[in-house]
């Protein structure tokens, strides 16, 4: 179960704790781990065995609360916190009895990427005039704590990925053989519900004409409720509705949050025994999956990643299920992919994208694209190609695409995002040697930065009619080693467009890829359409595609 992976084990830090207590001559040390998504802090208070009795029986100081407060103060101080006499400090008074005092020395932990990942600190039972040697020792110990955190994080990532990956394959497998939209909903809610240990799981698909949602209870607490299809109003009063309407996942970690977040539904949910809820929208917000647990939940990174991937697979399953008859579907699918609303609105620009799975079989391939808003004047665009087809590629593609979006929300620099995806690809077998172009676009200026990892070169169509093929990039993701990839900086002026695509658009048997690239440049140059969807259609139709390969194309027009 995901939860068993999220707590860094106490034994991981036991050594650091022992060293700290010895070097700094203190009874207590603590480590606080900041949740990478920036939400609740996980606080580890390490009461080592030989100290247990002393500390446990110490009524004079509420160590646990004290250490939590010290951690919070340290984070707020953005550096090192030093308290020589706790009794004299207003902020700590509540936790110390009047006849006692304490002293604290704590430091913010910053990882190699420059992100705050926690706090390491020590507390003494008496006043202390902390010395330079103490500060230096703390600094060294913090270094060990960071290394431990990073090692643990890497292991978590691997464990969480391996564990949930297997079950995600099961889900992907079940969805591939699903016969229709209802079966996709049924299977997703049932399997995903089991995967995340939820007592309640439901899947909903938006019916925009009727203005509501069709919801399927895949898993529920009461008898006789499962496998029912019901209609739910499309509004923000329910987690599913809110997820679909806002496009943002909903997480309610405990009863209080449920009551505050969903006052109208709270009494039903709590009455049914639920203490935590989550709802994730699919890409394009056509649907959502929802889960309920009968105990409070910690929505940590691995769990969010899993839930996000389930939502990706659900969305893919729905798309595939609605394809049905191939001939009609090609045209319809193309149409649907070009509809506005599938991509976020980018100020001052038009976007259009399409994905066409290889027609040789109904297996989806590993091509993906995404546009994610990263701030009021910044959009991250990604396109990628996971090697292979079928289940593995589909799952990996979902994970990679989700990782991209999650990283964009946390990390500012394009280079770091790609570096993180590189790291991700090293840890997820199916993602090795996948390719990527990541671009950062600033609507107010048209400034564009791009990094390519082994991917087909983007094309820039200027308003003067010229088409430029951007330089080759660095190697594909996941190869390990210190692989630098250069960043291309340019700008889209009004009337210019950026074209991103996957190799299926330009690779043909028996000819060098340059021939296909030339054909693409010509097709882009020949488009007269000034509407992104029409331009996309023109180019795609001019090139055609090989029977068995996938194609994804994305155009950003200013």
């Amino acid at each position: 179960m995901p939860n068993s992976f999220d707590q860094p084990g106490k034994e991981s830090f036991a050594r650091v704790d022992r060293l700290a207590r010895h070097l700094l001559a203190v009874p207590i040390s603590f480590v606080t781990v900041v949740d990478p998504v920036g939400l609740p802090v996980t606080h580890l208070f390490n009461l080592d065995a030989d100290n247990n009795e002393d500390n446990k029986n110490d009524r004079a100081i509420d160590w646990r609360s004290l250490s939590t407060v010290v951690a919070e103060l340290t984070l707020a101080s953005r550096g090192v916190l030093e308290i020589r006499d706790g009794r004299a400090d207003q902020r700590l008074a509540t936790f110390i009895s009047s006849s006692s005092t304490c002293a604290c020395l704590a430091e913010q932990l910053v990882d190699h990427k420059g992100e705050v990942c926690g706090v390491f600190g020590v507390i003494d039972r008496q006043q202390r005039a902390w010395t330079d040697q103490d500060r230096s020792n703390l600094s060294d110990l913090s270094g060990f704590a960071i290394a431990e955190l990073e090692r643990r994080h890497a292991v978590h990532l691997k464990i969480a990925t391996d564990h949930s990956t297997e079950q995600l394959f099961q889900l992907a497998s079940a969805l591939t053989s699903a016969a229709g939209i209802e079966e996709v909903m049924q299977r997703t809610s049932k399997i995903a519900g089991d995967l995340v240990g939820a007592s309640i799981a439901n899947a909903a698909v938006v019916d925009r004409e009727a203005g509501d949602m069709k919801m399927h209870y895949g898993k529920s607490i009461g008898e006789g409720e499962s496998n029912r299809l019901v209609r739910l109003p499309l509004n923000e009063a329910s987690p599913l509705g809110r997820a679909v309407l806002t496009g943002i996942p909903v997480h309610m970690s405990n009863a209080d949050e449920i009551v505050r977040g969903f006052p109208l539904e709270a009494s039903d949910a709590l009455g049914a025994g639920l203490r935590a809820l989550a709802a994730y929208p699919t890409r394009g917000r056509h649907a959502a999956i929802g889960f309920g647990w009968t105990h409070p939940m910690v929505f940590d990174d691995p769990l969010r990643r899993t839930l996000g991937t389930v939502a990706e697979l659900f969305g893919l399953g729905l798309e595939r299920a609605s394809v049905g008859d191939r001939d009609r579907a090609v045209a319809e699918h193309l149409q649907r992919s070009l509809l506005p609303g599938a991509l976020p609105f980018v100020p001052g620009a038009q976007t259009a994208a399409m994905y066409e799975a290889g027609a040789a079989n109904l297996d989806v391939g590993g091509d993906w694209y995404d546009i994610v808003a990263a701030g009021p004047d910044r959009y991250l665009i990604g396109i990628g190609d996971v090697v292979g087809r079928g289940l593995h590629a589909a799952v990996t593609m979902g994970q990679l695409r989700h990782a991209f979006a999650a990283l964009v929300s946390r990390i500012g620099s394009l280079g770091e995002i790609v570096e993180n995806l590189d790291h991700f690809a090293q840890n997820v077998e199916g993602a090795r040697v996948s390719t990527l172009v990541a671009a950062s676009y600033e609507p107010s200026t048209g400034n564009l930065e791009l990094i390519s990892a082994g991917h087909m070169p983007p094309m820039l169509h200027r308003s003067d009619g010229s088409v430029t093929q951007l330089p080759n990039g660095g190697p594909p993701l996941g190869l390990g080693g210190d692989l630098a990839r250069s960043t291309i900086s340019t700008a889209l002026n009004v009337g210019d467009s950026l074209w991103l695509y996957t190799d299926g658009l330009v690779e043909r048997r028996g000819e060098s890829v340059d021939v296909g690239l030339g054909r693409l440049k010509e097709a882009i140059q020949n488009t007269r359409a000034d509407e992104s969807g029409a331009a996309l259609r023109d180019v795609y139709q001019a090139l055609g595609r090989p029977v068995e390969d996938d194609v994804a194309v994305l155009v950003l027009m200013r």
Binding site: D385, V387, G388, R389, R432, V433, T435, S452, A453, G454, H455, M456, P457, N472, G473, G474, P475, P476, L479, G480, L483, R485, D503, E507, R509, G510, E511, S512, V513, D514, V547, E548, D549
Partner: protein, 106 residues
């Protein structure tokens, strides 16, 4: 166009393999058998790519895997006389500085 399953010919030569035809997902298992484990036990492994007319991402991955497998045991995989198709794909995929390629002597 009818698809024949084995468009790839693999010839075992001294020190490695000579590949001819097309490398794609349909024949990747066949290639994998010849590269995993690597031919021979020590020394460089030669993969002659002069007659490759097409290679897709799964083919590239297989070659990269072989390259990395060799590195781990202190050996090298030498991609010799790569055809234009292959050379261009290596360049676009940012692999030119990573893989050991030996173009044909003019």
């Amino acid at each position: 166009m009818a698809e024949s399953p084995h468009l790839l010919e693999i010839e075992v030569i001294e020190g490695g393999l000579r590949l001819s035809g097309e490398i794609d997902a349909s024949c990747i298992d066949l290639l994998s058998i010849h590269l995993n484990p690597l031919p021979g036990t020590t020394g460089d492994v030669t993969i002659h790519l002069g007659n490759i007319l097409f290679i897709d991402s799964s083919g590239l991955r297989e070659l990269i895997d072989a390259h990395q497998r060799a590195e781990r045991t202190g050996r090298r995989v030498l991609m010799t006389e790569p055809s234009t198709v292959v050379t261009r794909l290596f360049e676009i995929a940012g692999l030119s500085k990573i893989l050991h390629t030996l173009p044909a002597a003019d």
